[in-house]
């Protein structure tokens, strides 16, 4: 098999051979840890695509106003904090760049709390995702994240198998003989 390493132990020289085998396995773990995130990021691509395809797109530009403090401003007189172009939710989905974890997490990008400006063109802020996914007391849910997980999981698993086979073959090639 292309992606396997054969370890043979000769009774005469067993100590050296066991050490070499352990070293090879340590190297395998080290190499995998180094490439883990790249492999998983590649595997997550069908998931990201499924979430992006399922995300509903609005028909008009939405405006966010500041939190209400003592009453609501009259129609048209509110202070505009942020503008959301249609497609903001869809484009917000990606493999999130989270520094504190080795895991690869797929989700919607959020702007920092209180961020102002325009979203949906080059910056994205999907703070309202949970309302769309789960609905509110006044609004029906439009679930698309959970269906995307169900729909894309088989493709993620296939991709994972392919990538792991490729990684194992590469390691076997580098450590042959």
């Amino acid at each position: 098999m292309a992606n396997s390493i054969q370890l043979t132990i000769d009774a005469n020289d067993w100590q050296r051979q066991v050490n070499a085998a352990v070293k090879t396995l340590e190297k395998l773990t080290y190499n995998f840890q180094r490439e883990q995130q790249d492999i998983l990021t590649d595997c997550a691509e069908p998931m990201v695509a499924a979430m992006q395809n399922g995300a509903p797109i609005g028909a008009k530009i939405h405006i966010r106003y500041p939190k209400r403090r003592g009453g609501r401003a009259k129609r048209g007189e509110g202070q505009r904090v942020a503008k959301y172009y249609p497609g903001n939710l869809r484009k917000a989905f990606r493999v999130l760049d989270l520094k504190r974890t080795q895991d690869v997490i797929v989700g919607a990008k959020l702007a920092r709390s209180g961020t102002k400006g325009t979203f949906g063109l080059s910056r994205f802020d999907a703070y309202y995702l949970h309302w769309v996914e789960y609905g509110t007391v006044n609004m029906a849910a439009k679930p698309f994240v959970r269906p995307a997980i169900i729909q894309a999981s088989p493709r993620v698993i296939v991709r994972m198998q392919t990538n792991m086979n490729r990684f194992a073959a590469k390691f076997a090639r580098q450590n042959a003989g």
Partner: protein, 144 residues
């Protein structure tokens, strides 16, 4: 297509605990268990049923005869305790349910099994309403 909200309504409305916790709607002819949205004039507590996804189990020779439908059941109430009580009563009734269900004005479906999957609790701060959302997987035979 299976009338999933009708099936769940029939199962839940037959349970005395759910009946007493949720109560009758404004017109008094049904319990406050709704598909998709809760009418704005209705007072809480109430239960809402939303279909999330349908997973067919196709065969080599034909269309799926058994669908696994993922459903979200929301329990809304003015207090967290009340929402928890409703959610627990709903779970007791639905989890591991397996039987035929005759939906009023529709047909009889065979529910192959209902399985609890996930739960999350939220508060809708705008209106001070508590909600517990629970996901179930409902397996239904398409040919009763």
């Amino acid at each position: 297509m299976a009338n999933i909200s009708g099936i769940l309504y029939t199962i839940l409305a037959a349970d005395v605990t759910v009946q007493s916790l949720v109560g009758l709607d404004a017109e008094g002819d049904g319990y406050k268990i709704y598909p998709l949205t809760i009418p704005q004039q209705e007072k809480l507590p109430a239960v809402r049923i939303t279909t999330i996804a349908v997973e067919p189990s196709d065969t080599k020779t034909g269309a799926s005869t058994l669908d696994a439908i993922r459903v979200q059941v929301d329990s809304y109430a003015k207090t967290m305790y009340a929402a928890q009580q409703i959610d627990e009563a709903v779970r007791k009734r639905l989890d591991r349910y397996r039987n035929s269900v005759s939906v009023s004005g529709d047909t009889t479906y065979f529910v192959d099994g209902i399985r609890f999957e996930n739960r999350n609790e939220t508060m809708e701060t705008e209106k001070d309403i508590f909600r517990i959302s629970t996901d179930y997987q409902v397996r239904i035979h398409r040919t009763p």
